[in-house]
């Protein structure tokens, strides 16, 4: 009788959770017809699951002294051109509004720029051994999902502003003068640093050759989408398949997660080591 109740409960539990997968030690990339950036797409269901343990970034200061996110669940699919990673982790709070002392939830996928048995250092590569990083941020997602940019009231709804010189009446009807004035009062934008503001994708492609060397790639070709779930985040980052990646030629991937409510930003992050990435 007891055994029967146990089995019934187990069946209920399993059906409530969808289905239980046994995680694999490596990241097995499943071949699909077309990759998706939708974290909820049905295609993910049967893709092999890898669970990566996370530890704090521990190479440079500042760093996280108390570990936060303990693991990230990763699945990956490819259509031969694009490779999409779905990262899921537990984070009870949604932090997607920037401000003083307000940080932003985020995650990143790192891959060696070249497939080579001599892999770069796992923490952002090293001199001469570049890593490619695709970085997703929650505020960028909110902007892509339609949150107004460039308005302080999206951050502080009760803010009142008398006047911005960049919107002076004398400039009205002169788009070029308006754009010039906006740039004058926005130095980061003027030099092409687009950390905030309008954007098409919630992801940015970057390169690094060691801690502190992170710089934007010439172009961002990666795409992505993140959804806040009841327990955390579910984020897809899709990028180009690493050159030479094939069933006979595995490579590596590594992951990082920033839990903003834990003060994580920049070097203060949780990360994994290299995870072998295999195409079956």
């Amino acid at each position: 009788m007891r055994l029967l109740i146990f089995l019934i409960l187990l069946t209920l539990l399993v059906s409530a959770c969808g289905h239980v997968q046994t995680p694999t030690a490596e990241l097995n990339v499943a071949q699909v017809k077309e990759v998706t950036t939708d974290p909820d797409a049905a295609v993910w269901r049967d893709v092999p699951l890898h669970i990566s343990k996370m530890i704090p970034q521990d190479l440079v200061d500042p760093r996280v002294m108390e570990p936060s996110t303990s693991e990230v669940q990763v699945k990956a699919i490819t259509d031969g051109t694009q490779i999409a990673f779905r990262l899921e982790w537990i984070d009870p709070t949604q932090n997607d509004v920037p401000g003083p002392k307000h940080f932003l939830d985020g995650c990143a996928v790192q891959i060696p720029a070249r497939i080579d048995p001599n892999v770069p250092a796992p923490q952002m590569g090293e001199a001469g051994k570049t890593v490619e990083i695709a970085f997703w941020r929650a505020d960028w997602q909110a902007i892509v999902d339609g949150r107004a940019t460039d308005d302080i009231r999206t951050i502080y709804p009760n803010a009142t502003v008398d006047h911005y010189p960049s919107q002076a009446r004398s400039l009205e009807g002169n788009p070029q003068a308006l754009a010039e004035a906006a740039a004058r009062y926005s130095p980061a934008r003027a030099v092409g640093n687009r950390r905030g503001g309008p954007r098409e994708q919630p992801v940015e492609d970057m390169l690094a050759e060691g801690p502190g060397t992170l710089s934007p790639a010439a172009d961002t070709t990666s795409k992505g989408k993140g959804i806040k779930t009841k327990t955390g985040w579910s984020v897809v980052i899709a990028r180009q398949v690493p050159a030479g990646f094939s069933p006979g030629t595995p490579t590596q991937s590594a992951f990082a997660v920033w839990e903003a409510a834990h003060g994580e930003v920049g070097a203060r992050k949780m990360r994994t080591g290299w995870v072998p990435m295999i195409l079956k």
């Binding site: 200061d61 500042p62 920037p98 003083p100 307000h102 302080i152 009062y185 950390r195 930003v265």
Partner: protein, 380 residues
């Protein structure tokens, strides 16, 4: 960590990078005794540099009433509470800081000892304005001077520190100190908005811009400095409390350099919280009516001497004349001299920029004007 010399502490200290002093160091002297808290400086800066989106709350220049004014809230108290044993001692005729700096007391995992202001901490830029340190008995202020209570105005900009904590805090090396004039800048192309500099700067003079998602700070109006002109907050100062220039280290002090004279020779102008260890380059003539038990913590152990020197200025024609040069020209007075009862401000080549009589002629006008047959009353 490297070992570097911090003359304000009278000793070496640990810093993130080796000592590398600029060719010349932008510096300033503010005379707190003359500030009237009109905030003209604040507005001059605001309208010039921080009228953009995301900069609404930023005051690269602010003026707060001490002891109860702060921007952001409790910027100094928070750190003072974290920093242990700020003792100074006399050693071999030298005043030496025995406590530890914010670099030396950085906790594990951090580059400096610091804290992060929240957005609410910036929401009360005028908190404590004109609040006295204590109560004043009824009628006391009308009876003349009293020593029951005090306040004073502290005008603050970035100190363009010799050992900037903002620069040391940035794991990306996005902050740099210009070799030509020591001005400290955030590279707006490199900054990724981690706000480590905001956390690290003890003076809280780097600000996070939530619209551009980068950090921004006082740039000492470098386009003006490059043309030999004083920054906006200096040129527009109503109280003429400010003098901009370049400061040498004490061993290279030049008597005809106005800042060297005030800081190194007369020792009448003192750094703000030297114990933090940044060798800040804005120097303050301390308020002379405030108990030095308070100002000693803020301006270091030289404060009693500085007050004495300033009080004696009427008997010191050189000092009086130099004080008269404050705010007398929009140009940076690199050199100065006294000729009779005039102070002459000069550029670096000795060319005269301005000449100021240090005692203005006094006219006493009788209350009754015979010509117009009218009695005039002067306001006190």
């Amino acid at each position: 960590m490297a070992r570097v010399n911090n003359w304000q502490l009278g000793r070496e200290m640990s810093y993130w990078y080796p000592e590398s002093r600029p060719e010349k160091q932008f510096a300033a002297v503010f005379d707190t005794n003359k500030c009237i808290a009109c905030q003209t400086c604040t507005l001059a800066c605001k309208t010039t540099w921080t009228s953009g989106k995301g900069q609404e709350y930023m005051l690269w220049n602010n003026v707060e009433t001490k002891p109860y004014g702060f921007y952001p809230l409790a910027w100094d108290l928070n750190l003072l509470e974290m920093l242990d044993g700020q003792q100074w001692s006399e050693r071999d005729g030298k005043t030496v800081y025995e406590g530890s700096t914010i670099f030396e007391s950085a906790p594990a995992g951090e580059r400096v000892l610091g804290w992060r202001p929240s957005d609410e901490d910036y929401a009360y830029p005028n908190v404590g304005e004109d609040d006295c340190s204590g109560g004043v008995d009824g009628g006391a202020s009308l009876e003349g001077t009293h020593d029951m209570a005090w306040f004073y105005y502290l005008a603050r900009i970035c100190n363009h520190c010799t050992y900037p904590a903002c620069l040391a805090s940035c794991p990306r090396g996005s902050i740099y100190k210009r070799p030509e004039d020591g001005i400290v800048l955030v590279d707006q192309g490199r900054c990724r908005g981690y706000q480590e500099c905001v956390r690290g700067c003890p003076y809280k003079k780097v600000f996070f811009n939530p619209i551009t998602s980068t950090s921004e700070k006082c740039i000492a109006c470098f386009p003006k400095i490059e043309q030999g002109l004083a920054p906006q907050c200096f040129e527009n100062c109503i109280g003429k409390i400010r003098m901009a220039g370049f400061l040498n280290t004490p061993d290279k002090a030049q008597a005809d350099n106005p800042l060297d004279y005030l800081v190194h020779i007369k020792k009448v102008a003192l750094p703000l919280f030297p114990q933090f260890g940044l060798e800040p380059n804005v120097y303050y003539i301390p308020p002379i009516h405030v108990p030095t038990t308070f100002t000693r913590q803020m301006f270091g152990p030289g404060v009693d001497k500085a007050v004495e020197v300033y009080r004696n200025a009427p008997n010191d024609p050189d000092l009086t004349s130099l004080l008269g040069l404050f705010g007398s020209t929009a140009q940076i007075t690199r050199r100065w001299k006294r000729v009779g009862d005039k102070a002459i401000g000069m550029d670096e080549h000795g060319k005269e920029l301005v000449s100021v009589p240090f005692r203005e002629p006094v006219h006493i006008r009788p209350a009754y004007d015979k010509l117009y047959q009218i009695t005039r009353t002067n306001c006190p």
